[in-house]
Structure formats: structure tokens, C-alpha cells
């Protein structure tokens, strides 16, 4: 299918609204993406036509809802090329998935075992491991990054040893847009027998990871950054880990047999899906994946790279503007500051001009500490953004600079 930007934009009702009297320019896609009508329709369809609880009713509605939910799991399996559908666990989102794994390892890790994270992690990929270290006596090690916002691979290799039990790295940094070389990271970790979890919250709207090829042990992501609804995501875990890890939460759906003496757990994936899940969310996640694939990831990547290149060039023409995250492999995220101006002030002015960007530390304070800045202005582009919107951003930033200096 040829890449028709106007046709794509027409799929997103929100893109036609105005903000503060200006056409909305939505450049906060790294926080959450907008939703196409195909996804919104799937939500309306579910609640209008076959809303029922799943996996237990014999009645028709329950069967239909169960079929749709499981079909979505299958779709996600195919999309990410997992070996089995039951390796896809539905979660409430990336943070939930990370906590589920961290909790599972609290009974496995021993004192002085080592966990490696990267210097560019989101808080949700730092805090659960710190909590795990406090609980088990394990030690947290950090892969440093360089000025360009790229992980120093040789330092990572030095950190690895037979003590390393777990490695957790994000696929793409939310604050900088850097794409990490996860294939190499996973391979190196496996050489010392360590297990790897990759946080794909920022990547899955830009690239399509092949989980079997990556040979990753755990992979987490959220639907809402991929044009799907909030409150749903997935945790992929290799079958062997699914069997090894204990359940995270107890409740209905996750049991095989319950007596007051002993409960036996259900098999994968239900072992990790206690209680009534976000049925509608799971189904709409499937619709979002269909939508993204109908555009095609090659076309998405090509268009987003064009936006990134154009935005970086145009913004750098502004005197005193500095971009953070300048490595060779990055997605369509431009994190920047203007000398002498607080990012919050820029964000406030450009919002008045209808432009949505993120300002602040982006839940990645260690990165801000590294650059010794309070935060950045972050413009993050999606496939539905246009070059004209980049121009609108650049003009708004120029205006903000004029007003603020």
C-alpha cells in the first residue's frame, strides 16, 4: 500500500481538533500515541455487541468474547514472532510486566548476585530492580553511556560475569530515542548464563521485533504507545521461564484446582492472568496491531526517519539549541534545550500555539543528571505527523525563544 499521509490522518479523529485556537500538532507520541477509528470502533463494537466475561461462560456471548480475546493473543504472537501463543501474557502495561518478572525473581536471586541495567532506563525499569535488590541482597550494576547518549558496549562487557543473573535494558530510550543494540546485548548476556528482559515500551510503534530471532527471555510493551488503548500490554516470556516463575497475583482464572489445603495453578498463560482481564483492551490491542501492519513497518520507519532528519536539521538552525541523544541509531525523538531557557517555559509557550510536546525529566532522572540539566523539551513523532507540523514546531520554538530571552 502506498504511504498516503492524508488518508492516514483521516483515520485519527483527534488530529482534526484545535487547541488554543490552533490546529493540534501532536508531538508527544513517546508518551502515548493517538488512536485510529479502527481501534476506537473495535472498542465500541465489543461493548455494543459481545461484552461478556471470558474463559468460563458456556453462553454465546462469552464464547464470542473469549474467541476474540484469544484471537488477539494469537495476532500478537504472530506479530512478534513468539513461538507459542501462551508465551504472550496480557498485562496492564509495561510497568506491570516488569514488576511481574521482578517479583518472580525475588525467590530465585541470592545475595551478591548481580543485576545489570543501563544508564538510560526509565524509572519503571530502575525502581523494581532496586526493590528486588533490597529484598534479595543482589547488587545493581549500571552500563554507562557516552555524551551522544549511546551505551558504552565495552563497559557492558566488563560488567558481565558468572555473577550476572539478570540484564534489563530498554530497546529504545524514551528520553533520547537511542536504539540500543539489543541483539548483541542479549547474546553477550547469554554467554555468561544471564537472563535478559527488554523493555519495548518505546520501540514497538517504530519497529517490529522478532522475538525468536532475538532469543530474548522476556520482552514487555504497552498497547497505548502502539495506537491501542491504555491499561493493556504484554509480557512475552519464553515457555521455560513461564514454567519456572511463580504466579504474581492470586485469584480467579489463574488456578487449576482449589481446596483449602492446596491450590494448583493453571497452565500458561492463565497462571499469570489472575482475575477478569482487560478484555476490551486486549481485543482493541489486536485491532491496533492490524492497523499498524496495514500501513507497514517499513513505510512507518521510512516516514519517521524523514521527520527526524528534517526536525533535527531545522531545530539546529536555532542558535543556542542543543539536541540530546545524537547517536547514529535513533527513532523519531528529538530531545532538546535552548541555552539559558528552562524547558518548561518553552513547553508552556508552544502549547499556547497548539503544539503538544513533553517537557521535564521524562521519568529518566539519571539521564538528566548525566547531562546536568533539569530536563528537556521532547518532540516525538509518529507516522501520522507531517513535515508541515515540524515547521509549526520550529516556528513555535523560535517564537518562544524570542519571548523568553
Amino acid at each position: 500500500m502506498p504511504f498516503n499521509i492524508q488518508k492516514i490522518r483521516n483515520d485519527f479523529p483527534i488530529l482534526s481538533r484545535k487547541v488554543n485556537g490552533y490546529p493540534l500538532v501532536y508531538l508527544d507520541n513517546a508518551a502515548t500515541s493517538q488512536k485510529p477509528k479502527q481501534v476506537i470502533d473495535s472498542i465500541v463494537d465489543y461493548y455494543s455487541n459481545y461484552n461478556a466475561n471470558i474463559h468460563r461462560g458456556v453462553h454465546t456471548l462469552s464464547q464470542e468474547a473469549t474467541d476474540a480475546y484469544e484471537a488477539s493473543r494469537k495476532k500478537i504472537q504472530t506479530h512478534f514472532n513468539a513461538k507459542e501463543a501462551f508465551e504472550i501474557i496480557f498485562t496492564a502495561g509495561t510497568t506491570h510486566g516488569i514488576n511481574l518478572v521482578a517479583n518472580g525473581f525475588s525467590g530465585i536471586l541470592k545475595k551478591d548476585d548481580e543485576i545489570i541495567v543501563s544508564a538510560m532506563e526509565h524509572h519503571s525499569n530502575i525502581v523494581p530492580w532496586q526493590m528486588l535488590c533490597e529484598k534479595t541482597g543482589a547488587i545493581l550494576k549500571v552500563i554507562p553511556m557516552n555524551e551522544e547518549g549511546v551505551l558504552i558496549f565495552s563497559e557492558y562487557e566488563k560488567l558481565l560475569s558468572e555473577k550476572t543473573k539478570l540484564v534489563f535494558v530498554n530497546h529504545i530510550s524514551n528520553a533520547l530515542g537511542t536504539i540500543n543494540p539489543i541483539e548483541k546485548i542479549i547474546k553477550k548476556a547469554h554467554e555468561v548464563g544471564a537472563v535478559v528482559l527488554i523493555d519495548g515500551a518505546q520501540s514497538c510503534s517504530h519497529i517490529k521485533p522478532d522475538l525468536q530471532k532475538l532469543d530474548v527471555d522476556f520482552y514487555v510493551t504497552s498497547a497505548h504507545k502502539m495506537c491501542g488503548p491504555t491499561g493493556v500490554g504484554i509480557l512475552y516470556m519464553k515457555e521455560e521461564w513461564g514454567n519456572k516463575l511463580p504466579p504474581y497475583q492470586g485469584g480467579g482464572e489463574m488456578i487449576a484446582e482449589v481446596t483449602f489445603e492446596k491450590t494448583t495453578y493453571a497452565t500458561l498463560p492463565h497462571k499469570f492472568e489472575a482475575g477478569t482481564p482487560n478484555i476490551c483492551g486486549g481485543i482493541a490491542f489486536g485491532a491496533a496491531i492490524d492497523y499498524l501492519n496495514s500501513i507497514g513497518f517499513e513505510a512507518i520507519e521510512k516516514h519517521e526517519n524523514e521527520l527526524l532528519k528534517y526536525a533535527s536539521e531545522k531545530l539546529l538552525e536555532i542558535e543556542g539549541l542543543k539536541i540530546y541523544g545524537t547517536g547514529p541509531d535513533k527513532t523519531s525523538v528529538v530531545s532538546f534545550n535552548i541555552e539559558g531557557i528552562h524547558p518548561y517555559d518553552i513547553g508552556t509557550i508552544v502549547d499556547k500555539l497548539g503544539i503538544a510536546v513533553r517537557t521535564g525529566h521524562h521519568c529518566a532522572q539519571p539521564i538528566m543528571d548525566f547531562y546536568k540539566i533539569p530536563g528537556t523539551v521532547r518532540a516525538s513523532f509518529a507516522f501520522y505527523n507531517t513535515l508541515e507540523e515540524v515547521d509549526a514546531l520550529v516556528n513555535a520554538v523560535k517564537k518562544a525563544k524570542m519571548m523568553l530571552s
Partner: protein
């Protein structure tokens, strides 16, 4: 000048502006004109916890009136706090406690009142009233 009179004055000043941009430019000017405070007053305990920009608020009691001084690392935030300092500084604790803050709406800064707004206008007012309450309690004892 009473708090109410100062608020009226501000409403007058802001009513001259035709659009948001002039309003913000004025706020920015107010921010720039806020007297600098001593660096050693910018301590952790004077910090109003906001999400994005830092605001330091200092207070002292002089002749029965509270003197507020403040600073911020973001200029628009500094403009907002300059407005508040103008309204509430050099006032009696009880008057600060009794004052309403409807004027914020009238000078077109209502959007900053939302509790999720990262500049913490709400927290600034709350902190000023907290100081007033503390001094008022001291005065009574």
C-alpha cells in the same frame, strides 16, 4: 494597600492585553523584575515541590506583616510567583488567610490553577497561606 486593592490593580493591568501572547510577555517581564534573592536562601526546605521547575519561597515577619521573597529557575513560573508576591507580601497573616484568589481567573491565568499543572500555582498559594497560618499562630501565643 489592601490585598483586594492590589488584586483590582492587577486585573486592570491585565485587562489591557488583547491576547495571550501579550499577557505572557508581561508575565515574563514581571518574572525578570522579581528581586533576586540571596543564594543561601535557596535551600531544600524553602523549595516548593513542583514537578518541573523549582520555586523557592522565603518569608519573614516584620512589624506584624509577612514579607515574601521568591525565585524560580523557570521564567514564566517566576512571573506567576511575582504576581503572588505582589498580592500577598507586606500583608498581615490574617488578611492573607482570609484572602480569596478569584483574581487569578480574571487575569487569565486560570489554566495554571489545575492541580496537574506542573508549575504548582496551587502549591505556591497553599505554601503562602501555610506561612500565614504559622505566623498567625505565633502571634496568638
Amino acid at each position: 494597600m489592601t490585598i483586594e486593592a492590589i488584586q483590582e490593580e492587577l486585573i486592570d493591568e491585565f485587562s489591557m492585553f488583547e491576547d495571550w501572547m501579550q499577557r505572557y510577555e508581561y508575565m515574563i517581564d514581571l518574572g525578570k523584575s522579581l528581586p533576586l534573592i540571596d543564594e543561601n536562601l535557596k535551600t531544600e526546605d524553602k523549595l516548593i515541590k513542583g514537578c518541573q521547575s523549582k520555586v523557592w519561597l522565603n518569608s519573614e515577619m516584620k512589624d506584624g506583616q509577612i514579607i515574601f521573597t521568591a525565585d524560580s529557575d523557570a521564567i514564566i513560573t517566576k512571573g506567576i510567583i511575582a504576581v503572588l508576591v505582589r498580592v500577598f507580601s507586606n500583608q498581615k497573616p490574617q488578611d492573607i488567610l482570609d484572602a480569596n484568589t478569584d483574581f487569578i481567573d480574571e487575569i487569565g491565568l486560570k489554566e495554571h490553577l489545575s492541580p496537574t499543572r506542573a508549575n504548582g500555582l496551587v502549591s505556591m498559594i497553599k505554601q503562602m497561606k501555610m506561612y500565614a497560618l504559622a505566623y498567625q499562630t505565633q502571634l496568638k501565643n
